[in-house]
Amino acid sequence: MHEVALARGLLEIVERTLTPRDRRVVRVNVSIGAAAGIVSESLTFAFLAIAEGTRAQGAELVITTVPARSRCRACKTSYAFEGLIGRCPGCGCLGGELQSGNEMVLQTIEVADV
């Protein structure tokens, strides 16, 4: 359940970003790589639970999935894949160097003054 630790990190950034004028967090937008091994439902559940009693209580967590891409170690083709590991469409070789799909970034926070 590393999602709890991720949610904790997320809330920490939210709280240190808010100014006294920001009364309430409406929405938190994060992007998560498809191959990062993060379960969106778990992250949302954990965030809801730990945000209780903070200005982010009840905020909507919007998770955008960043597609995963790999570079084949044999034929060097760059290809998109689903799941945690792919197979090169060019030569059939398994996996390769991950080019994207491993990121976990808090992009924006939408806040209300009331």
């Binding site: 630790a5 990190g9 970003t17 309430r24 091994g37 996996g95 491993n102 926070i109 003054d113 009331v114």
Partner: protein
């Protein structure tokens, strides 16, 4: 509220953040790494499933009289100080972290532990992570090298089933190789899967129980440590 007419409809604005979710852990990890690097303490994050043989391997490394400096170990387990007791018995100093409900070590726990250990400088510090093939992959502790211990008893498909941790490793050790004759484990197939997930990882096959392959791994460890120490290899 609405600044135009004061109607009470909240005005919503967007704050751009663009920060990694684990930024706080990563900044503490950087702090740890700087502290350890300055003191020439080569640090390894040792990860693996429960029962892969991480502690047995450490005992063998400590008893193997490696030239990789004195070993100091920080043990992470959900409960008990059994592993740190085993490490002390093998001849190295150890500090135990009991993580309770935590399923992995985090940089702040290492930072805290470092204040409880004495270093002369030049030691090899091993952070034995909580036995888990999922969560430790995400958390930088401030180490210089990530080593994954796995065993043929876990089956050939582990790299395919748990790619992030195999991807995070600099070195993958296949422990318990003495058991391969008794298992339906194809080393070639397993190696192919590891390479698929992580083309850059160095792979070593060994047995902490019999000592087979241990010398090659210790030589690699020494090579990496000397690389870390740079030209200043005079440190014990």
């Amino acid at each position: 509220m609405c600044e135009t007419c004061g109607c009470g409809v909240p005005s919503v604005h967007t704050i751009a953040v663009h920060e990694r979710l684990l930024a706080s852990n990563e900044s503490i990890a950087e702090h740890n790494r700087l502290h350890l690097t300055t003191r020439k303490i080569f640090t390894i994050n040792l990860m693996g499933a429960p029962g892969a043989g991480k502690t047995t391997l450490l005992e063998a490394m400590i008893r193997g009289r490696s030239r990789s400096g004195r070993f100091v170990v920080i043990e992470g387990d959900q409960a008990t100080d059994r592993d740190s007791a085993r490490i002390r018995l093998a001849g190295a100093s150890a500090y135990q972290i009991e993580t309770g409900l935590g399923c992995h070590l985090e940089a702040t726990q290492i930072h805290h532990a470092l204040h409880h250990l004495e270093f002369a400088g030049g030691e090899t510090l091993i952070l034995e992570n909580v036995g888990n093939l999922v969560c430790p992959a995400l958390f930088d502790l401030g180490e210089h090298l990530r080593v994954l211990v796995t065993a043929p008893t876990e089956g050939v498909e582990k790299p395919l089933k748990y790619p992030p941790i195999f991807r995070a490793a600099d070195i993958v050790l296949l422990n318990k190789c003495d058991l391969i004759p008794y298992l339906s484990f194809d080393s070639g197939e397993w190696t192919e899967y590891v390479r698929g997930v992580n083309p850059r990882a160095a792979i070593f096959e060994l047995s902490a129980a019999t000592g087979d392959g241990l010398a090659a791994w210790l030589a690699e460890l020494e090579r990496r440590r000397f690389g870390f120490l740079g030209s200043d290899a005079s440190v014990p």
